[in-house]
Subunit: 240 residues, 2 copies
DNA sequence: CTTTGCATCTCGACT
DNA sequence: AGTCGAGGTGCAAAG
């Protein structure tokens, strides 16, 4: 761990260059402007921001508000630090697609380099996979007599989350969402049901069921128009 | 700007509490575990991470890799810092929905508080709005004789990006995407065209045109199946 | 407040 | 490398 406060431009540039090549996670707090050009293009006038450079090549520019960085560069970028007109310039570049992020510091208040390791993986519950497992473990949650036959069943339009048959043997396509659904989920289920209808024989009927904790009004109307169904179910049994 | 390296737990807790209440942006680098419970739930074992707490109540937990925080809490959270068993515990809480993030530090290597202002807004070009403006300024880019009549025209299924008529007066619904499109965009356009067909008189024909820099194979097939069209166009004229 | 759709979405999984 | 869909998506605009 290494820290500098109010470093001179030359010192700052040297600090960032050397610690980055040592594999440090570097943070810079200072007054800067930011330019980006690549998939889109953006400009940001001068302000006080926190810049984070990770050893994997990620760059983040954070303002004092909001969860998202105001500007960023994805992992795999190469960095270049230079002093121009007494200002520290940070360039973060990658190719495919060609993208450049440039941060120009008027002043740097604080500079830190930290070294560490992180072996642990995040484990999450309450995902769509948990909802799927819940239904597979107890298919009658969907409806009495439902029999799952496959997950991620391929169609020309994409993979169906759960594929099965109802009590009387009718084919059923199930689309799962871990949270309240809107119109997009209806479109997704509709694509799968349509594709399935084309792939099976023309006389085969296919039911489509959207499973989620809840549904918006517009989505419910779209579902009805297309003859599709909704079943309320959450990933977490406690939330039903 | 204020910095502490290897602070004692009591000192760290006091530092974070006071600087946060002063409106500082606080960063903590140290070895910690993270727990989250709310919309989902997650656990993360011990590792070295950078924690950023913004004056607007945002909390971010960053590992040494990846652009996205491994855990986070959105703006508007309230924070609580305490020392338990010689460890600094950070709680970040909000309601609607009820969510809690808990970071437990085994050790804290570095602690910083920074104060700043950021008045400037980010300006971006190359967005969907730019693509829309390009077409409105020169409708023949879409096709010869196209006449835009409205943007964001409401239907029961949602708003159509550009609504207009072709050379012979047939109604046209245009869906815009700033980048290469997949199946989801086809579903979106299809919803709008279907809704428009129902709202206008039954005998009215409606064309649907998807506008984007490019399109995937599967999306092209879905488009064709539904009798919809594609026009290649980018937000930036230089990219056509 | 909820709903809706964009985003330099990011990310992982699969081809 | 490209495609596809999930995500604790975040976010702003509009009702």
């Amino acid at each position: 761990v290494d820290v500098r406060t109010n470093p001179a431009p030359d010192e700052a540039a040297h600090f960032v260059t050397t610690t980055l090549s040592d594999g440090a996670l570097v943070t810079i707090f200072g007054r800067c402007t930011v330019e980006y050009s690549g998939r889109a293009a953006s400009e940001l006038g001068a302000g006080d921001r926190l810049v984070v450079i990770k050893p994997d090549g990620t760059t983040l520019v954070h303002t004092d508000a909001g969860q998202q960085p105001v500007n960023w560069q994805p992992p795999g970028c190469t960095h270049d630090v230079a002093v121009v007109d007494d200002q520290v310039h940070l360039d973060s570049t990658r190719s495919n697609p060609d993208e450049t992020l440039t941060v120009r510091f008027e002043t740097i208040a604080q500079l830190t380099a930290a070294y560490g390791t992180d072996e642990k993986a995040l484990s999450v519950t309450g995902t769509e996979a948990d909802l799927r497992d819940r239904i597979l473990a107890n298919p009658s949650l969907l409806e009495e007599g439902f029999q799952p036959l496959a997950t991620e069943r391929r169609t020309a339009a994409g993979a169906i989350d759960v594929y099965g048959e109802d009590e009387v043997g009718t084919t059923v396509a199930v689309e799962l969402k871990r949270r309240r659904v809107g119109p997009d989920a209806v479109g997704q289920l509709d694509r799968y049901v349509t594709a399935l209808g084309r792939e099976l024989h023309a006389d085969v009927d296919v039911r489509g069921i959207l499973v989620a904790p809840s549904i918006t009004d517009r989505a419910r109307h779209l579902l009805a128009e297309r003859g599709l169904e909704f079943v309320a179910l959450s990933p977490d049994p406690a939330d039903d």
